[in-house]
């Protein structure tokens, strides 16, 4: 069979969805990846807001050294819920479920993911998990932090049972999504789209899926053993019966270290899409960026014990983990330098999306550098469980993940809704976010280095001034998000029609109307080259090479 025949067969075999008829099939139990993506976006967005409220409660408590706004018990619950909601219910579903679902199938020229029904099922594990988690607030909420180390986590009320069940449930959805995405990327790329012609966001989604497939199940077993320990008194973590609490830390971090890459790698993908679009240049080092993503993923499974340097592992364990952890700075540095090299000499267009990505580059780099510091065992012994650690994680997860995601929101919003956002309002949003983000988290490095421990409701009055400053900045940072909502509502009401390709981008999702029709591509496109060849004709078969790549915003 010639290649042509195979291609024609592939086109014929990709079915067009039957158009959904009822409201429920269209918006509630939809199998359309775009609708599922929007559903994920809404629910995980709400979770991020809720998690943010818990964070603000923490900051209110810390406005004074002996504040009585929260009891120590409530304070513990607040940071536990802040972390849990942010990691599993906010950021991970946002970067995989929302962005991955909406963008990835469009970028590979597919009509849907490989298993549309399974995709719907994955999403519908999510809202019940949220309800289970929140109901634990009524039954003795978990309060040992998002990591839920035993024995503290086992001493709280029955809330830990709800907590493990909720995270397990949302993990099932995450695993099935990963399975679905990986099958989709491997099997359903448009004819001609070889691996090295895939957009970098697709690379990122595929690598994230691999991480998720390996790690999330390991988390499930850690959660399972915590659940069994509480409910059936199984002695995994009870030293009096031969168990050991360090085992949980191993099982937990074997998942949770790759999880931070599940959080950041899709954002690397988002950044790699936005930068060439607004630099109007081919991305520098396409293959290096793609392969460094893979090597970060491989390394991420070999560094989990750097979270446990203070758990008494001994030098022969901590030394290799220290070296491997520092090694991750190499592929990450390759990315940072490749993006910077793309910016070099470019005719930059500073849209809101681009500003957020430039903000990402600076803040994420700072977070990466403090990461290398913390990877060093002696430094970690000094800084572990202080606010320095809190500052580091927020520089990579807020300054990295969330900053990149905000860029992604401004970038793909016109594709999802068909309308442009207000650039002026968006720029205000960016500058306020960027300034107050740094005002909030930069001083945390200082109080941390001075020795202020995290996760404590009270603190030494010597730290009062800086903490008050941090808290006020944190309130203003939260306030900056109101501009995003205002912008979203403004755009939906009055936004200018976007047209298929307002940014003049070159990946496949911009070659069809905004919002895309439910079947995405009337005919499956053929792909002749990488998408980043700015200045060259579009590398797609007709009619997908007809769209103008001149920016129209």
């Amino acid at each position: 069979m010639s290649t042509d025949t195979i291609d024609i067969l592939r086109r014929a075999e990709a079915p067009i969805h039957p158009a959904p008829e009822s409201f429920i099939k269209k918006y509630i139990f939809s199998v359309d990846h775009k609708v599922v993506g929007i559903q994920y976006f809404i629910v995980s967005g709400l979770m991020i807001l809720l998690s943010g409220l818990f964070a603000e409660a923490i900051r209110v408590q810390l406005t004074g050294p002996h504040n009585t706004f929260l009891t120590p018990q409530q304070f513990d619950e607040a940071f536990t819920f802040h972390g849990t909601l942010m990691v599993w219910f906010g950021a991970i579903p946002l970067v995989t479920g929302a962005f991955g679902n909406f963008v990835m199938p469009l970028q590979i020229g597919a009509r849907d993911v490989a298993f549309p029904w399974l995709n719907m099922f994955s999403f519908w594990t999510f809202p019940p998990a949220v309800l289970i988690l929140l109901s634990s607030l009524a039954f003795g909420a978990p309060n040992a932090g998002w990591t839920e180390y035993p024995p503290v986590s086992l001493q709280a009320g029955v809330g830990i049972v709800f907590w493990t069940t909720a995270v397990f449930t949302v993990g099932i959805g995450a695993t099935l999504t990963a399975l679905n995405f990986l099958t989709t990327v491997i099997k359903m790329r448009a004819p001609g789209m070889t691996f090295t012609r895939m957009p970098l966001f697709v690379w990122a989604s595929a690598v994230t899926a691999v991480l998720s497939l390996v790690a999330t199940t390991a988390l499930a077993s850690a959660l399972g053993s915590l659940f069994l320990s509480h409910v059936f008194n199984v002695p995994f973590y009870d030293p009096s019966r031969g168990g050991t609490v360090v085992l949980f830390q191993h099982m937990f971090w074997f998942y949770s270290h790759p999880a931070v890459y599940i959080l950041i790698i899709p954002v690397f993908g988002i950044v790699s899409e936005i930068i060439p679009t607004f630099a109007r240049k081919p991305i520098f080092g396409y293959k290096l960026i793609a392969y460094s993503t893979v090597s970060i993923a491989l390394l991420s499974f070999m560094v989990w014990a750097h979270h446990m340097f203070t758990s008494g592992l001994g030098p022969w364990v901590t030394m290799p983990f220290m070296i491997l952890s520092m090694l991750i700075a190499v592929p990450t540095g390759i990315k940072i330098f490749s993006w910077t090299a793309t910016l070099f000499g470019a005719n930059l267009r500073l849209t809101t999306a681009m500003l957020f990505v430039l903000g990402f580059l600076s803040t994420f780099t700072i977070g990466g550098i403090t990461g290398v510091m913390l990877a060093s065992v002696p430094v970690d012994w000094h800084e572990h469980a202080t606010y320095f650690l809190v500052a580091h994680i927020h520089y990579v997860l807020f300054g990295g993940t969330l900053m990149g995601v905000l860029g992604g929101i401004y970038y793909w919003w016109p594709k999802v809704t068909g309308r442009l956002m207000n650039e002026k309002l968006g720029k205000w949003h960016f500058w306020l976010t960027f300034i107050f983000f740094n005002a909030t988290f930069l001083p945390m490095h200082f109080v941390g280095l001075l020795g202020m421990p995290r996760r404590v409701a009270y603190y030494d009055p010597a730290f009062h001034g800086l903490n008050l400053f941090i808290s006020i900045s944190a309130f203003l940072l939260a306030g900056a998000f109101l501009l995003l909502f205002a912008n979203a509502f403004w755009s939906l009401k009055k936004g200018q029609a976007a047209g298929p390709n307002p940014w003049g981008a070159r990946t496949l999702e911009w070659m069809i109307s905004s919002p895309p029709p439910h079947y995405n591509f009337k005919e499956i496109p053929e792909v002749y080259s990488t998408p980043y060849g700015y200045g060259e004709p579009l590398p797609y078969s007709a009619p997908y090479n007809q769209v103008s790549t001149t920016p129209t915003y």
Partner: protein
């Protein structure tokens, strides 16, 4: 319910450009890869607990801990032979179906189901007679968690095989189109392989 879905490229693919939803989900290569990935991620579940068992073992001065007995290796060996035997019958069942010999397929599948159930019975007998408890020691914790998880997988496998048997009696599978059976057989072999590791871990090592 056969939902007709429109495709382009008339004259190519299934049913001359029109495909039912069932035909679409039968696209073997997609489902095969998806199912392999599922088995892979499932194996991580076991791997994590096997790691936990080895870790607890390394933390214990003697293994099994004082006052705890290993399960009877003879009973375990018989059970292992039963399970591996069921793997062989499952393999031949698949072959018979591919050769369009339906009666052979049915008998081999019934044999697999009986052997699988016998394994579960043996495991229940073992649970009733072993001198260890789930909450009593780390050996018990690892043993009951892992064999329990495995037993649950066997139970799911038996139910899965019964379902595919009923489906094939209703004419759902043909020698050309039988992804559900392929998946069930793969799953059954996967459960077999896990038992090799667990047998070594708890009865011998």
């Amino acid at each position: 319910m056969a939902v007709k879905t429109e495709t382009l490229g008339h004259g190519h693919g299934y049913g001359h450009g029109v495909m039912t939803q069932e035909e679409y989900v039968e696209q073997r290569d997609l489902r095969f890869l998806g199912f392999l990935l599922f088995l892979f991620t499932d194996s991580i579940f076991f791997t994590a607990y096997i790691f936990a068992a080895l870790y607890l073992r390394s933390a214990a001065p003697v293994w099994p801990p004082v006052g705890v007995e290993r399960p009877d290796v003879n009973l375990g060996a018989v059970n292992a032979i039963i399970l591996f035997g069921s793997g062989i019958t499952a393999h031949y069942a698949m072959h018979r179906l591919k050769e369009s010999r339906l009666a052979g397929y049915i008998w081999f599948t019934i044999a697999t189901i009986i052997l699988g159930s016998a394994f579960l019975g043996g495991q229940a007998y073992e649970y009733a007679h072993i001198h260890a408890t789930w909450s009593g020691s780390t050996f018990g914790a690892a043993f009951f968690t892992l064999t329990g998880l495995h037993g649950f997988h066997v139970l799911v496998g038996v139910v899965y095989l019964i379902v595919t048997l009923l489906q094939s009696l209703a004419g759902k599978y043909t020698p050309e189109r039988h992804f559900g059976l392929t998946a069930a057989t793969l799953y059954w072999h996967f459960v077999d392989v896990i038992w090799v590791v667990l047998f070594f871990l708890f009865y011998i090592y």
